[in-house]
Symmetry: C2
Subunit: 153 residues, 2 copies
DNA sequence: CGGAATAGTTAGCAGAGGTAATGACTTGTG
DNA sequence: CACAAGTCATTACCTCTGCTAACTATTCCG
């Protein structure tokens, strides 16, 4: 039974620990959605992407979220049905589809985002400023790893 | 369209960024399983828990992984079918069930874990030592947040 | 001893991802 | 210019992994 500390000191150990931490925290986040907010975390991520980057194609959204195009099509369908985004033809390329936030969608981003983050936000408040700083610096690194190219082999 | 930097500086912004980073990285990790390794990430997490802590009950495993007991029962079933763990009666409490790693299971932990972490490990190698240090300190914080008590309301 | 609480399981359901195949459009080449 | 090959989105279908509710067996406690 190896010591945790010694294990985490190596890169391989860090990989293991980081992997399980990420998986557990994600399960927890999915579970902590507020009852009166019926949007899934994936849906909210799409709205945030559009909010931050403006109009995006289905393919671009899929790449950002690390999902396959069919999965993104389904997420977009749900958002269209809810009236939060609209599909527009691409001005130059007839194959692509541009997804745009509607006024209602913009409202949801502003109103629901805060509520949806409440659980995690409270947990962050319980941390020391130093710990929050670690996470502040970790977030973009995690993001970069998630977005990195697949292995060549 | 708000600036990312300014957004992340607030705790609410940090919550949002951290949430999406965790979700994206998890999707990526799930996808990077090696073709000749058919164990799911959840199954591997159970094996690791047993490897590190010795025999555990179903309930203890469920608590560790932030999962409900029925979900853990199913994971354990899959591992029993694969011959990687065995169910034993609890010595003192007839309601509980002790889960123990078999020799085969121990082999899988050693052999497959390294291979499974390969993708993330390579990504970690590309980071600067400072960035790795940030993640080394972030991992237990993420873990603690995942394990924290639910909101009282 | 009998009722309440606890641990695990079973059954059934939902969310969210994947691949394969298809259709529509674009691009590049003979 | 025509047509073959490639690309983007979609559709259809499947899997994995989580959940709740209900049930069983056991233990605890009054």
């Amino acid at each position: 039974m190896p010591s945790l500390d010694q294990h985490v000191r190596s890169n391989a150990g860090l990989a293991t620990e980081l992997r399980f931490s990420v998986m557990r925290l994600r399960r927890r986040l999915v579970r902590e959605r507020h009852p009166d907010n019926d949007l899934s975390l994936s849906a909210m991520a799409v709205l945030w992407g559009l909010h931050r980057h403006g109009d995006l194609t289905v393919g671009a959204l899929a790449a950002r979220e690390q999902v396959r195009p069919p999965s993104m099509t389904r997420s977009v369908n749900a958002l269209v049905d809810a009236g939060l985004v609209e599909r527009l033809p691409h001005p130059e390329d007839g194959r692509q589809v541009v997804v745009r936030l509607t006024e209602a969608g913009r409202g949801v981003v502003h109103a629901d985002a805060a509520r949806r983050d409440r659980w995690l936000w409270r947990r962050l408040e319980d941390l020391t400023p130093e710990e929050r700083d670690v996470l502040r610096r970790a977030a973009p690194i995690l993001q970069r790893i998630a977005a990195s190219d697949p292995d060549p082999d």
